[in-house]
Assembly symmetry: C2
Homo-oligomer: 396 residues x 2
């Protein structure tokens, strides 16, 4: 760590993306991370950054976005060159907490400053066809899929993929939006009426036992570390409850998940945290989609792992050593959807930790989460059961 | 939780200490805690507050004090009426992170707003004679002591207390400052020359095996919860390494520590976290001193307990349910004194978490700490040993 005097900090050249240092009381190196997006993921990145002596500056279109509690917020569109320049000014590295960031904007910044993960990974994650093509190319199991560019293409895709199947927009969908389930070819008209007009992909609906995810990180030196696989329960297309390590997780399954993450991370020359959503089909893992960022199914790591996914991401993008991803006991995370549950009831559950995102209540909106930890799966079950009775329909 | 519209928030009456709500995106109750002092304890209180949906506003004489990273900072003297009014304006509760806060200032604020813990507890903790008199009155074991008001009084005190003994200022000393060790009565002149002129206390030096502390919380409803006892190793009068639960801790010793804390908390009608420093003399606990606040020997609770001392203090002063103080595995905390250790070396130790306070390096100054956790005492020993080799003299 290079010590500099306080005066010299103020005299640092303000050149964009030069590694200037903040004038802090510590008079020591305090890296600046520019984060594109300022939602709850940014807020939790910022909370992890402060104890590490790292500063985060955020860009978000919404004034008072959740990350504003933990660092300066530039308010502006994520694709606006002026706003992007403003958030990246003087940053040591640029990263993002939302994969909807326009890849061109990230690529433009990358000309002057490290952008991690790189814009190429962002582009792959933004296009379901590119994503699934990558899975196939890398030998990663994936449900059958076919591109759909027009109405005739949908017929051909149904022939190739079979039914039931899900028609999805190639770009922009999340939390179950931009999707249409076809039970048979007879649903083609309705599906095309709902989603036609933009590039689509038809994906086979495969039988699976449960949904899992692997949160993995790759450092600047290429080292890869994976958290224990997570079991994810969805309702109405939105993640409700994650459990980690996934119940019944064994070494072979963990190794299968890690191999998938490792191949993707290396192929994308990725730096940072990557999430791969998986289907567990009778012990065989199929890749569903990736998120080039910290992820809702990794929130449990704040309390449940030796290093949180947020700290891990910061370590990776700053070129620091990765932390231990080992679990600490057993954890479950419940999203609060639409509104926060009654605070006193949550806080009365032993081992429960409330995470309020500071967002306005709105139907279907993630406004917070609660993580509960325990020493054993049985103790976790008991605590989780108590949590799930507090506000049915809202929490979990 | 009462939902209010965003507009009504802006129209809230700005009356001092009315429970007005912040205009946040959440449009829900977001309590405001005014914290007197903005050092590292304030910074960690603020980090605990944000996920709870709680806002902290700090008062500190130093611009850019550590807590400025996590909330608005009013810069001014802690005894200044205008500064106190500014930090307390609109707060739901006033608390402090430094026991040097002038008790009169806290008492003045208490006329208009809850101040927790109350000014009476602060006054007791600020005066070693009042503190030790309270121990004795409550039947809590304490080394012999005597007030020293002048040179003649020192002779009388040595007669009563014996030697070796420590002469201390009754007010204002911390981290070994304001103390003089008398090996025998022959040192009286030197001791009085060093410290005479202000109210003093002479305390017997008793043989003890180790120094422990108990971090306890009392809720608004009088409920008391205690963290597992902590083993504290000092050097040059400054805490270097804490281990929790204290090695070899058994139920009877824990019960002894809890009984001491409980008696003090009830007697002081205390609300919040209180720390009692203890001597372990062959299994009998003697009280050394109290701190009416979160404490350096409780930093391990961030990673090592089901609820951190910071969250516990916020829960207590806000009248919320107290959290579980149970340990999660085994933890050790090492202070970084004078300068931070090399970051990469710390981050390479599994289970280690860095806490950078954002303070300028200075000999003898606490600028950060590192907590390391493990599943067993042996694994903790191994990890702690690695940490202690990184920067001898600075870390631990």
């Amino acid at each position: 760590m290079k010590a500099v005097t306080r005066r010299s900090l103020h005299q640092s050249e303000p050149g964009r993306c030069n590694p200037v240092r903040w004038a802090t009381l510590s008079d020591v190196e305090s890296p600046l991370v520019a984060v594109l997006g300022g939602g709850q993921l940014g807020r939790m990145l910022g909370l992890a950054a402060i104890p590490l002596g790292v500063r985060c500056r955020f860009l978000d279109p919404v004034d008072g976005a959740p990350a504003a509690a933990v660092g300066p917020l530039v308010v502006g569109p994520l694709g606006d060159p002026g706003a992007l320049d403003a958030v990246a000014a003087g940053a040591d590295v640029v990263t993002y907490e939302w994969e909807g960031v326009p890849a061109e904007g990230a690529a433009r910044l990358a000309a002057g400053c490290p952008v991690r993960p790189g814009p190429d990974a962002l582009a792959v994650a933004q296009d379901r066809l590119a994503e699934k093509t990558a899975f196939r190319r890398l030998g990663i199991g994936v449900p059958e899929f076919a591109a759909v560019d027009d109405r005739a293409g949908l017929e051909a895709a149904i022939d190739a993929v079979g039914a039931p199947a899900i028609l999805k927009t190639r770009r922009g969908g999340y939390d179950g939006k931009g999707q249409f389930v076809l039970q048979s070819a007879a649903d083609a008209d309705a599906a095309f009426a709902a989603l036609g007009g933009e590039p689509l992909i038809l994906e086979a609906m495969v039988p699976f036992d449960r949904e899992l995810s692997v949160i993995a990180a790759r450092g600047l030196d290429g080292e890869v570390r994976c958290f224990p696989l997570v079991d994810n329960a969805h309702r109405d297309g939105i993640l409700r409850v994650s459990r980690a390590p996934a119940p019944g997780l064994h070494d072979a399954l963990q190794a299968q998940g890690e191999a998938i993450a490792h191949r993707l991370l290396d192929d994308l020359d990725y730096v940072g945290v990557l999430t791969v959503e998986l289907f567990d089909a009778a012990g065989t893992l199929l890749a569903n989609e990736i998120a080039p960022r910290v992820h809702n199914s990794g929130h449990w790591t704040i309390e449940g792992a030796e290093t949180s996914q947020f700290e891990q991401h910061l370590r990776a993008v700053l070129g620091w050593p990765l932390g231990s991803p080992a679990a600490r006991g057993h954890a479950a995370m419940c999203n609060a959807i639409g509104a926060l549950p009654p605070r006193d009831a949550v806080l009365a559950v032993a081992g429960a930790r409330l995470h309020d995102y500071g967002k306005a209540p709105r139907p279907g909106r993630k406004v917070g989460h609660v993580t509960v930890v325990a020493d054993s799966p049985d103790a976790l079950d008991e605590r989780l059961a108590r949590l799930l009775t507090i506000a049915p329909g809202t929490l979990g």
